[in-house]
Symmetry: C2
Subunit: 400 residues, 2 copies
């Protein structure tokens, strides 16, 4: 009887087949390209240990106490520094910020105040699972738009808007998108924001990989309607995901509503985590730390790309991502979900493209994370992949 007490939205968004497979992959010796997690060997342990002890001894009366729902003033000031200057030269101010329990909570709270069941929300035809879960949980309907190496196909979106589509919001990872690795070009992104103004939908810019660029370019901001733009930042990829510190900046009508929902959701984000992030950002060491991450991750990307192109040659189609944590590869004629179960038996795992698919077939694609495994494991993992790759069931598309 009891499960009938569950309400409608308590249904997972996706088949658990891939999740079940990946659960099996948690065995000793498994080489994982599956996780979307930072390299733990690069966490600044000694620095954070000293800072944590100092924060608790020195400010424990506040850092261990209940805090403000929207975040401590010091945290908001520190996190405002994660936002670059806007095209008009202005900067995001503390007053526009809400400190969240990771960027994931920023997505969920935004959905919580914006979305009604049935609302269409623009996303990419392969997109971040955490956001697809949020949309499902709030009864919203993901409306997929194709994505290529230049990011979301905004021309196509405009055609659909002209045709009558009226989304409540558009979800966008501007830099080094998970899973496709794409960075949207500034003209396309500016075009998207013009459409947001014209058609009255909110653009949710989720930007956790902006600091992880390997080609030397700087993250970009474009002109956007301040009343219709939500900008989300994270410290998970540049410092530590375990602290769960993210930030949401947006118009006052939205941040006030988000703060009220956050009060119910968890009262506030850990004050100890907040104080630790403030202390870490305050050391000025973060630039150097992130530079180290960039150079380590870039070297691993080069290693993985070299190994996979060497072993798969013309059986793989891949664009080199400009940053982030993921290689998005196509293996023409191969169903990567079928491949995964064979790969796991051979001690290697990845996430099949179909796991991220929205209204589109992504079954010949795969997401390979290149930041967590050691250099040796990256190369060994590609060997294990190659040993288990199925024979393509049809000709590669460019030859068909």
């Amino acid at each position: 009887m009891s499960p009938s007490l569950l309400n409608r939205r308590s249904t997972p968004a996706r088949s658990s087949t891939i999740r079940d497979l990946l659960d099996q992959a948690r065995t000793p010796g498994m080489i994982s390209f599956a996780g979307g997690i930072p390299d733990p060997d690069r966490f600044p342990l000694a620095l954070l240990a000293d800072l944590a002890a100092g924060v608790i001894r020195g400010q424990g009366n506040e850092a261990l106490q209940y805090g403000a729902t929207a975040g401590e003033a010091e945290t908001k000031a520190a996190l405002a520094g994660l936002y670059g200057p806007l095209p008009d030269g202005s900067c995001i101010s503390s007053a526009e910020l809400v400190v969240t329990s990771g960027a994931q909570q920023a997505l969920d709270l935004t959905a919580r105040v914006l979305l009604e069941p049935g609302d269409p929300v623009i996303c990419a035809t392969a997109d971040y699972l955490g956001m697809l879960g949020v949309l499902n949980d709030h009864g919203a309907v993901p409306h997929p738009i194709p994505v290529d190496a230049d990011g979301l196909d905004v021309e196509r979106l405009e055609v659909e808007l002209r045709g009558g589509l009226r989304p409540r919001a558009c979800y966008l990872v501007p830099h080094h998108h998970n899973p496709t690795g794409a960075t949207i070009t500034p003209p396309r992104r500016a075009h998207l924001h013009r459409l947001s103004s014209r058609y009255g939908f909110v653009v949710i810019e989720d930007d956790p990989y902006r600091e992880l660029t390997y080609d030397g370019s700087e993250p970009v901001e474009v002109a956007a309607d301040p009343e219709l733009t939500v900008r989300i930042r994270s410290t998970s990829k540049i410092l530590s995901p375990g602290l769960r510190i993210g930030a949401l900046a947006g118009p006052r009508w939205l941040t006030e509503a988000v703060t009220i929902q956050k009060q119910s959701a968890d009262l506030h984000t850990s004050t100890l985590s907040q104080a630790l992030v403030v202390a870490a950002l305050g050391t000025g060491l973060l630039d150097e730390h992130v530079a180290g991450l960039r150079s380590s991750y870039q070297a691993k990307l080069d290693l993985l790309l070299g190994a996979i192109q060497d072993r798969f040659e013309d059986r793989i189609i891949v664009d080199r991502p400009g940053g982030g944590m993921f290689l998005w590869a196509r293996f023409p004629g191969i169903d990567t979900s079928v491949w995964l179960s064979r790969a796991i038996d051979n001690g290697v795992c990845f996430v099949p493209g179909q796991a991220f698919a929205v209204g589109t077939d992504r079954s010949d694609q795969a997401r390979l994370s290149f930041v967590t495994a050691s250099p040796g494991d990256l190369v060994d993992g590609v060997d294990r992949l190659a040993q288990t790759a199925p024979v393509p069931t049809r000709l590669p598309r460019m030859l068909a």
Copy 2:
């Protein structure tokens, strides 16, 4: 235009008048009986500072990394220890637990999987604001039942159930209820659980004050339908609220649904906070620490009760709470909301009873927290209250 993009539920549950008043009360020198926050002078700073540094240095690769949505195995094992044995001698196991970002998130996630808009949920006629906010945010309808010194009036609830009331859930703070201080008697509580089985509603037992008992009694558990009972625990009152570590135990159909929603809500609770709580509970020092809290808080309760009875004599009606953090007082003939603005001008604040009221008039009551202020401030605060108390506008009820 933009605020029209907010969905229906983005409306605060309550008038913000009292909140606005209390915001004004954040001035230097203010003596506050308003907060529901532990005494920060009793946080075990040196212990936690050492533990935090040790945890980060020794286990930082895990304690700073992404973690499991339902919580780390070690955390679940440690938090299972916050649950006493059940009447049949069995104990709550780790498998029944979800680690939450404070008990508040446990309430929110439970509502998120159980409640549909319009669902009636049983609560007390004066109840915890955080839960009333959750009910509002999920569109549920609080259905108030009177509460007295023996807790919720379960006989009255049964009459309403016989009359056709069909609640989805009942919210209960079993020990030292916020704001009334009441502890429900074991027979009433057992009766409530029998009604839960008979009528098929979930009992949400939120028990953050169970360790803060001052009369030497032990917290009690009663027979309950395991498929219809959710038990929530918190480390906020016994260790530190800033760490945001709570726990939810319940039937598998509910904990699985809660875990899926938590994945969207914040991925997981801070792994550093979890590791720190595990380390603190593992020292075995917590019993001694909580004993110290109990004795300090009990002394403050005695001090406040003595001072307030001394200054208000027959103008106050109050039951001595058996534990917790709050004195719930009635000042017959006085509108405590009006009094509050005068009190703030005189450097003291509290929360008027009407702030907690559900479908009932609580305007002559007030909640006074006795744990945060220093002993000297407790006495001075009562003086400031007495100086500003309005003249009763009608005879006290027992004389009317």
